[in-house]
């Protein structure tokens, strides 16, 4: 783990401005196929899972990973965060963190 690196919270619509960077994304799992999953985070995002992923269809998942050039995300860490997650809130908070970068996003 590199020191003091921030993993900005994003939704699907932010993907193309974060290619090559590590991000945090929360979405509802819509498909699980072996080492690939798709989540809905204000838009569909493909996740390339790591081996220790334990996600459940229909639940929300928090994925921290690197954005590939094809806008899929290579997961570094995945976490099932349950069913009762307010997805509208997640999208709003992601938006908020970009509006107030000064307390959320380090430039590095």
């Amino acid at each position: 783990m590199s020191e003091q690196m921030s993993a900005p919270r994003i939704t699907a619509s932010y993907l193309d401005s974060f290619v090559g960077r590590v991000v945090t994304i929360v979405g509802k799992v819509t498909q699980l196929r072996g080492d690939q999953a798709t989540i809905d985070a204000d838009g569909v995002v493909t996740i390339l899972l790591n081996r220790d992923a334990h996600l459940a269809n229909g639940n929300a998942a928090q994925v921290i990973g690197k954005v590939n050039p094809d806008l899929s995300i290579k997961a570094l860490s995945t976490r099932d965060v349950g069913a009762g997650v307010d997805m509208t809130l997640c999208a709003a908070v992601a938006e908020l963190t970009h509006r107030h970068k000064e307390i959320f996003i380090s430039e590095n």
């Binding site: 783990m1 921030s6 919270r9 945090t24 965060v81 997650v85 107030h100 959320f104």
Partner: protein, 276 residues
Amino acid sequence: MSAYSGYQKTSYGAQGGDDSGGFFAGGGSQQGSQGGGGKSYQDESLRPLTIKQILDAEEPYSGADFKVDGAPITQITFVGQVLSINPQQTNLTIKVDDGTGQIDVKKWIDADKQSDAEPGFELGSHIRVWGRLKSFSNKRHVGAHVIRPVTDFNEVNYHLLEATYVHLFYTRGAVGDSGAGPNNSDSMFVDGGDGYNAGNGGAQLPSKLSGCSGNAKRVYNYLNETPGGNDGMHLNNITGALGLAVRDVLTAADELLGLGIIYTTVDDETWAILEY
């Protein structure tokens, strides 16, 4: 509430060396210590922060109180994911990441309580921490009073919203333009007021300014944040810095003068904040 009683105890215990008077007062009852204890306890607040804010907090000089957005921080709370747990002889050192940064959290282990040695959460899980920011040989860590696992993920988002709200409260002044009517904003201050009132002179802001116009709040904030010495700031500086018209600033100043929040200094167009 049991969590809170433990939290109070550790807090005063940790402070004992610095302020023995307060320690004894604190030993009595929570109520008594809040009301009648040493002055320092009246300045206590509990600020929600992101880890980036914790890392960016200013330390005016070594050993001084840390400041975030110009306001001193005492107790803080944040939410993050556990990256590593490192049990030591006397404490647990936990590295926490909230997506904005990473920080070490140290939880002292009470040797008499066996349960203290077990963290109660696993790697990767979300936790909420209450504690104080400490600096030790130029490395920051949070001395935790209480750590508890977050069971509902919405709390993570909630915390980020709360941290932003308080950040904006200190940097842009309270509510007003956000679409809420004046009455609504009033009631929001009442909610937040107790926590925010601790701290510097600017903490008077919520109650006194709640009825003011947006411009008046901006002028107040500018005066509050700009070190102008005893002479305060001149009209021209304020218009320049805020991008307001001369007339708007004069109106705002009249409003603040009328409320006794500021006073004129060297001439009628130079104001400073009246602190008492």
